[in-house]
Every structure is written in structure tokens, then in C-alpha cells.
Point group: C2
Chain length 584, copies 2
């Protein structure tokens, strides 16, 4: 038996007990006649004490040789501390050690195992097993485990069945790029790893399982952006005999449960915004509504003067930044530079200072009078002391730019409070999205999403106008879930595939099994999927998903700890009937 207690559970009630503890040396303080050692395990830290008076001299000497991260087993008596540490649950006691065994030694770790470490990102990833010993990382992983258990318990109590769907499936060129797996037993053929269990969960509905969920790894071979992982985890859900409202209610319930159980936060009914409304008010289909600064559209009221920039713009829109009227010229110039950075791409920015005395000072005073500016203030909701920032141009671009500015200002002003949670639904997404490069339409969610009732005909005449039974759940400016009511009849599905540019042969080759299934009594059904990594990060008050993944990959898709991917044997390649085809 390596221990009678953990390093996190002893307190004054255990005084005089003989105990056995095991753990790691967090730190040692050697005062010569007395040595203290902080012994750490997952559960906490307990102070060990060795002194000349009470400790066997051989043990005292051995204690002097202990280094950081040595693994110890100690026996001893729980005694009261003379100077107590009220910040530690074990701070009232210490262990007077009578037996000391070094279970394993340790090299000096490449970074300190402290809440604030001196290790850089790369080093921490290479030695991730040491990084996990640090409280913040360890607590994130424990937190993740807790969230997933809450999800499972809630959904199970609601009658959902967790079903494992296969990982070795079939490649479909549609959507993102698949990871593929060569099949040794089926010469020249490949499996694909699932980008999501989408078709399988639909087949489970056809199979009558009624309410399905799964917490499941998904895979996308995309060029990685910061904080995106080639493998990620989804809470994948599907229900039969439901309309959109049934799904929204069911998963609003889940989200509300998580916020209450995990964060102790009560939430009212989630607002529902149409996609169009969200774009108009926030320039974004995942608006952070913890703060205001909603867009004011000035197009109509700003075009009657000689200011050409506005007159030639499809959209003129502004936001009011609270308390920013006192910005200096230099600060405002920096803001203009910020929106003109290539990442944002605005051509310029017009501003209006709303002075405390009710007057206005703008960068376009030449063109607009106080009455004009007062109207702008009204539309953007600006109060005395605020600064109105106005962008203009193409509608979609301007909204995106202004949304970026809105988020940046909220960040700078500390309005994105990680302890506040503001969920909302975005509904009525467009069914199709125009690919600017190819001129083709592709599915905004995926090709199984159903159009709103009665809109199927619009596909022929005005594809961009067709709205879908598709919805996203947004939390604090992040999309945490998205889904749709699916098509469940073969004809509609065939029409969709045709509009997405599939020939009937391609549709049959890739999704024939699904269209076949639709011939045998497919029920109406729909679902949703949550990005677990992001959900956990946001609930944890953070936004970097990597910190909530035990063994993440870097931006080149590499695991730098195990050094994967790697070259494989020629024999292995040969067995798979493959040759490398590298231009060198």
C-alpha cells in the first residue's frame, strides 16, 4: 500500500494519526536544523517536516538530497503546525516523517511546476506530461471530465441513447478535406476518418432510435489556423419526430443545466435572432451580446450631403464606444490604423466625439452639421462622452470590419467578462453560400439541411435567398453548437445534391446508402452538434481550446511530444500497396 491518505485530505482532525503519503516534491526549504518538504499529488499539498531533534539523522540526511519532482513515499505522524497556512486545506498540520523512501528520482524539470511557469509554449508541449502536473492544466482536464459527465447525465436522463458510430468510414469530397486510412485488406481502397457522424446519426433516426447522442472525436485535414485542431471532440445529437422548436428547447435545456450545475449561473430564456438580424445589428452570426455597441445603420441619413465616401457606399454603419469621447487625436489615429490593418481591411474610419456638453465634433464636420451628427448619435445610441466610429463600403465587408472593431473595443474596455454568460440562438441561416472563387453555391451547414417550408422552389430562381431550418447556439461571441432539421425524403435530397453540383452518379456513389434509407420510411428528424473543446474552454472562462486538451497538436498538426506524424517502414508501405510520390 503506497498511501493511507492523499496529500489533499489531512487536517486538524487527523492530528496524532500515523499516515502514509506518496507524491512529488514540490519544494524543499532547508534551514539546517529543520527541513520542510511540500509533498504534492493530484489532490493537494501536504507539508513534511524533518528536524534534528525529532528525526532520525539518517532520514534527515536523506531528506537533504531530495530534488524537485522526486517521487516519495513517507510514513509519519500528523502534528499541528506552529505557523499555520490558512490558504491551504492542509495548512493546519504537517507530517513528522519517520520513514522516507524515494520511489523515483527526477532530473531538474525543464520548467517550473508552478501555476505561473517559466516554460514557453513549445517546451510545455514537448514535456506535456510535466505541464499536466501544473495546477491550471490539471484543473482544466478535471473540469473537462466534469462537464462531459454533466452532459452525459443530463442527456441520458432525457432519454437520449449514446451510440458509438464507426471511425473507419468512407471519404466524401464534399466539405472539408478528409483524413484517409489505406486498407491493407482491400487493395487500393481507403477508409476516411469522420468529419462528423452526420450520416450515421441520421441513419440511427431512420432506424428508430429516436434520441441519440455521442461524445465523439471528429477529424478535418484543414490548413490549421491558430487554435484549431485536426482532431476535435463533438457532442453530437439527433432527434426524430421534431421540429426546430423542439430541438432548440431540448438543447437550451442542456445548456441551461450546464451553466447552472457547472457555473452556478441562472439564465433566462435564450434570445433568438435571425441570421439577417444578427448580421444587421452585430455584423456577425455569432454576436457577443454581453455588451451593447450595436450597429447603427446610417446609410439613409448620411447620404444627403456631399461626402463622396458615404454617398458611394452600399452601407454606412457606426457603433458608439462608451466613454471614448476623450480619446486624444493620437489614440483615434491609432484606432484608424487598427481598422486599416490588412487583417481588418477598412479603407478609413469616420468618428464623432459626443461631447459632455451635448455638442459633437467629427472628422467630417466639413460635410455634416450638428443636427446630422445628433441624428447619428441617436441611431447608434451614443450618449454624451461616447465616441461614434463609422465604417462604410460594401455591406458584407463593412459589417465584418465593424464587428471586428466592436469586439476589439469590448476587449480593450474589459466588457467581455468571462464570468458572465450570454447565450443566444441564431436561426434562419441561408441554405446556400456562394463560393466567390468558383461561382458555385455550396451548403452553408451541410447538404442534408432542409430548406424552410415552401422555399424549395426558390432554389431555382434565387438560391441565395433560400433560408434553412438551421440554427447555431452562440455563447459569449463563440459558436458553441449548430444544427438543422434534416431533409428526410429522397426527392428533396436529390434536388439539393443537384443544386450543389453533384451529378446523380456522384450523389449515388457517395450518399447512395442515405438516399436508399430515405426510401424505407425515414422519419422527420433534426439535430445539433456542440464543439466540446470550445464549450469547455468558454465555461472555464477561457478561449484557448488547447489548454483544455490533454495532448494537443501544434499548428502544423504535429504532436511534438511523441514526434508524430513520422515516416513509416517501406515494408508497411508495401503491405498497403502504396508508394511515396515526393517531388524533391
Amino acid at each position: 500500500m503506497y498511501r493511507s491518505h492523499t496529500c489533499g485530505e489531512l487536517n486538524a482532525s487527523h492530528i496524532n494519526k500515523e499516515v502514509v503519503l506518496s507524491g512529488w516534491v514540490q519544494k524543499t526549504r532547508d534551514k539546517g536544523f529543520v527541513i520542510w518538504v511540500d509533498l504534492r499529488d493530484r489532490y493537494g499539498i501536504t507539508q513534511l517536516v524533518f528536524d534534528e531533534e525529532r528525526t532520525d539523522s539518517a532520514i534527515l540526511e536523506k531528506a537533504r538530497t531530495l530534488g524537485r519532482e522526486f517521487v516519495l513515499q513517507v510514513e509519519g505522524k500528523v502534528i499541528e503546525r506552529s505557523s499555520k497556512n490558512p490558504n491551504l486545506s492542509t495548512g493546519d498540520i504537517e507530517i513528522l516523517v519517520t520513514k522516507l523512501q524515494v520511489l523515483n528520482e527526477s532530473l531538474v524539470p525543464p520548467f517550473t511546476i508552478e501555476d505561473k511557469t517559466d516554460g514557453g509554449e513549445d517546451l510545455r508541449m514537448k514535456f506535456r506530461y510535466l505541464d499536466i502536473r501544473r495546477n491550471p492544466v490539471k484543473q482544466n482536464l478535471i473540469f473537462r471530465s466534469k462537464v462531459t459527465m454533466e452532459v452525459r447525465n443530463y442527456l441520458t436522463n432525457q432519454g437520449f441513447i449514446e451510440v458509438e458510430t464507426p471511425y473507419l468510414i468512407k471519404s466524401t469530397p464534399e466539405g472539408a478535406r478528409d483524413f484517409v486510412v489505406p486498407s491493407r485488406m482491400n487493395e487500393g481502397q481507403f477508409y476516411a476518418l469522420p468529419q462528423s457522424p452526420q450520416t450515421f446519426k441520421q441513419l440511427l433516426m431512420v432506424g428508430g432510435l429516436d434520441k441519440y447522442f455521442q461524445i465523439v472525436k471528429c477529424f478535418r485535414d484543414e490548413d490549421l489556423r491558430a487554435d484549431r485542431q485536426p482532431e476535435f471532440t463533438q457532442i453530437d445529437c439527433e432527434m426524430a419526430f421534431v421540429e426546430q422548436d423542439d430541438i432548440l428547447k431540448a438543447f437550451e435545456g442542456l445548456t441551461r443545466h450546464l451553466l447552472l450545475e457547472i457555473k452556478g449561473v441562472q439564465t433566462a430564456e435564450f434570445p433568438r435572432l435571425t441570421y439577417d438580424e444578427a448580421m444587421k445589428r452585430f455584423g456577425n452570426d455569432k454576436p457577443d451580446i454581453r455588451f451593447g455597441m450595436e450597429f447603427g445603420e446610417l446609410t439613409e441619413v448620411a447620404k444627403h450631403r456631399d461626402f463622396n465616401v458615404f454617398n458611394s457606399s452600399e452601407l454606412v454603419a457606426g457603433i458608439s464606444i462608451p466613454g471614448a469621447a476623450q480619446y486624444t487625436r493620437k489614440e483615434i489615429d491609432q484606432l484608424i490604423d487598427w481598422v486599416r490593418r490588412p487583417q481588418i481591411g477598412a479603407k478609413g474610419m469616420v468618428y464623432v466625439k459626443c461631447n459632455e456638453d451635448g455638442s459633437y465634433k467629427s472628422s467630417v464636420d466639413k460635410f455634416y452639421n450638428q443636427e446630422d451628427l445628433s441624428q447619428w448619435a441617436k441611431i447608434t445610441g451614443a450618449q454624451p462622452g461616447d465616441l461614434i466610429c463609422i465604417l462604410s463600403g460594401d455591406t458584407a465587408e463593412t459589417r465584418t470590419q465593424l464587428s471586428a472593431l466592436r469586439m476589439e473595443m469590448a476587449e480593450r474596455l474589459g466588457l467581455r467578462n468571462p464570468k458572465e454568460f450570454a447565450p443566444l440562438w441564431i436561426v434562419d441561416f441561408p441554405l446556400l453560400e456562394l463560393d466567390e472563387e468558383t461561382g458555385n453555391y455550396h451548403a452553408m451547414h451541410h447538404p442534408f439541411t432542409s430548406p424552410k417550408p415552401g422555399q424549395l422552389e426558390l432554389l431555382e430562381t434565387d438560391p441565395a435567398a433560400v433560408r434553412a431550418n438551421a440554427y447555431d447556439l452562440v455563447l459569449n461571441g463563440n459558436e458553441i453548437g449548430g444544427g438543422s432539421i434534416r431533409i428526410h425524403d429522397k426527392e428533396t435530397q436529390a434536388t439539393m445534391f443537384r443544386h450543389l453540383g453533384f451529378t446523380p452518379e456522384e450523389a449515388k456513389a457517395q450518399f447512395g446508402f442515405l438516399m436508399d434509407a430515405f426510401q424505407y420510411g425515414a422519419p422527420p428528424h433534426g439535430g445539433i452538434a456542440f464543439g466540446l473543446d470550445r464549450l469547455v474552454a468558454i465555461l472555464g472562462g477561457q478561449e484557448t481550446i488547447r489548454d483544455f486538451i490533454a495532448f494537443p497538436k501544434n499548428n502544423s498538426g504535429r504532436d511534438v511530444m511523441i514526434d508524430a506524424p513520422a515516416f513509416i517502414d517501406d515494408a508497411q508501405l508495401k503491405e498497403l500497396n502504396l508508394k511515396l510520390d515526393i517531388q524533391s
Copy 2:
């Protein structure tokens, strides 16, 4: 709203309620003036009634057109049935339908959606989504979901943390064959899919997580035997600061909990048998102990006569088959033919009939007298009326053959009661196994398994004799779990790799990260993994794992429903820097 109730919940207390139901047509009975339709969903079956007297004629006519597996939504009133069905929870009532909508039609399904279907295995797999509508398959999937939730709740309550380990890892030639995944971003390099999260869970212990579990898919590219899947699910567990006994206790607790919660079966403390003892008594390291027929070793007592077959055998062993003394000559000959089949491979079989009058009649009466045979009966535990079957030859082969005979006879005699559960631990496995083909030793569990204390030196002189801190959990003749206490210091691990034929360079290339980790204070640790597919099947009273997997693959590793694996585009291959290398 598609339904106010499910098809499984209405009873006499709902009489006169107006309800809305949705589901599938299980069957229709058309008596002309009255039509009954059984409407089915996941939760049950409710009878609908349409008749000339009470039903609108248009609806009645529509009801006549309904085919099997049509999807309906109906509104109507709950009424009392005139002839009740006590076998159905909804058997007291029926629905007098006032509105009928066909939500989807269905072709005639290729097999009947009944508990006993007319569909063969291949057809059922191709149309798995229809197969899942059948009660036995659906209930198996629901049962699996229930078992996994019980596992998760139990382990979570015991302080285990579920941590997701990566799926895109690194190929290691050791052990079974990996599935590999070409990396597009890292030219010419490959990830591998995990055969198990073994090294990652060990790193989590190095990382101080203390108690880990994960229910996780694992992958092995092996030539498939019947009822083996290329992807399978493991309950993967690891604990730090434990000895073998701690692990056995912890997971005996889990198993006992499952048997109690899922099957209502109380179990006593699990017996522990050493590997050597199990081989001696049952010829098998996963003995089914629900019944007797333990081996009696007759080698010593059968070699003093002139019977050359026994005299030249390393082992002579027999089992006593209860009540089989009355077998006819023909039946016994068939048994002899059975053990001589190439799959079993015995050269012959000696038998002794233990007559009711206390006398013996054997196939070797020429060589052995009644006193000899009486001694054999004593050693094999044979009673009057039993038949002793004796095999002989090389020890290992004879044991395997006699074990097969023991299992076959238990099957024939109905002694393998699926409602009885007899778990036991097998401990003290050999550390190494001789590969007869290559003459090399390889790890019986895996190369991270620790030898028993003090046996490391034996590795040099008598590798086969070294016993490991390795254990299996056996239930009803199936290995449901296995694990070991791991090596946790770099030197022992390096010694093990050397004995397994790794050069230091190979060991470093493949497991360098683990050996590095062992330098930074690795704690003593150990774990276990359960095969979830098999565990669920056995708890479900069956042995075919395929029946407990939603979308299984066939024996060629194919998913015949989605038709995977499949060929991929040349463009996809090119992006991966690969060429097919097929000899045609």
C-alpha cells in the same frame, strides 16, 4: 409538434384523452368494416383503429393504403379495447383515429421488421438502419448505452477522471499492425491510429492525474477472425501509486457493481488463480468456471503399464463428463472424431465409462485393471454414471485440446447458463512468450509490463520462467479485461526493450518520449483495459459482439452498408504525396 405521447406510454388511465402519436406501421389488419394498425416507435406499440361506424370515410380509405414501415402522424382519442392484450403495456387501449397524415412512405422492406426476422446476416448488414428497428438489435444498443453510463458513473464516483487521448498518433511496429493515416501537411509522413492509449495513459500518470479512465475506440489492422472488428471499444483505466492488489480490488468493485446494477446478480469475492494453475486445472487462461469438469492429471498413475501412447506422452489428462456413461459406441466414436478434427488436432481419445454398479469399462481394458481405472475416476472426480475422456501428448497441446473438449461438452450439456456469472482473476502471467516461428521472445501483455519483484535477473538465464505483475479478468470463459503493473523506471524499461529485440536506437525512436518521461519522477502505476464490446455482449447473455455494435464491419473489414473502404480521387492521392503500387 409531432406527438403528445410516445407509442409506449398510453394505458387505461389515458382513456378519453385526445392524443397525437407518430411512428411506423408495424402491421395492418383489414377486416373491411374495421382496420387495425399497430403503430411502433422506440418505446412500444400502440393499436390504432379505424372503422366504418366511427371513422371519417376518407380517413378509412387512406388507412387501407398504408404499407409496412410507412411513417404516420395520427390524432385521435384513447378508447378502451374490447379485446385486451395483456402482453402489451398499451394492451388495454387503442386510438380511435380522427386525423391521419403519412409523413413518409416506405418500399416493402427487404426483410421483416420482427424479433425473428427472415433476413440473412448479409442483408441485415446492408440495411442495418432497418435491422436496428428490430427489437433485439435496438435493445442491444440501448443496453450498451446503459452499461457504459454505469461504468462512467461508477468510475467517476471513485475519483477517476475521463481524459481523451489523441487518435492521430505514431506508428509502432511492435505488436499488432497499425492503421496509418498519411499526413498532407508533413510530406511522406504518417500518423497511426491507436491500438490502445497505453503510452498516453502512462504519461497521464507521470503527469499526476492519479486515476484515469476513458471509453475509447482502438484500432488493429489484423486479418479478421470471426467476430473480431478492426475498430473496437475499450474501457481504458490507469492508477498511480498502486500495487497489483489495489487494481484488482478497484476493478473487482466495478465488475461487481455492473453485475448488481445491470443484472441484479450479487457476487462473492472473485477467485484468483495463477496462470499456471489455470492451465493445469482448465487448460486455458480464461476458464469458464460456471461448471466443473476440471482436469485430472493422470500422467503419474497411467505410466506403469504397457500402454505406449500414454508412456510416451508428456501429459495424460482427463475430464469427467457427468451422466455420459450411457453414451452409445456410436456417440463415443463421434466424440473421438470431434477431438480428431484438424481444428482440435488430438490424435485420439481414451475413455472410461463409470458404470452405475461401480465397475468401469474403458477403451484400454487390455492395459489397465479396475483398480487403475478407479484411481483415474478419483483423480478426475468421476461419479458412477460419468464418462471419463482422456487425451495425451505434449503438455501445452493436450491442455488446449482437452479444454476445447471441456467447453464443447459444457455447451452440449447446457452447462453454460447465460444467466449465471462466474468472474475470476488470472494472475502471475508469464512476462514473455516464445514466438515459435522466429525463436524470439515477445511481451505477452506489452513491453511496459513489469516483472514480479526480484525476477528481472531471471530474464538473462530463463526468460520463459519470468512471471509478470499482469492479470486478466475472466467472465464465463471470456477474457473481459487485462492489465498490469507497469515498469516506471528508465533502466528496467531499457532492459525490457533489449530483451524484446529492440536496438537502443529503435527503442529511442519509438518510445523515446516515454523513457524521457520516466526520468522526471514517474510514479509507480498500473492499469487495466476492458473490451467493452465483449463485456456488453456477455452481460447481455450473448457472445457475438457484432450484435452489440451499431454499424459493425464484416470479416473483410468492410462496411457493406456504406460500401467502405472505397477508391479515392487521384487528386486526393496526389495531395497526400502517394501513389498506388498495385501488382496487377
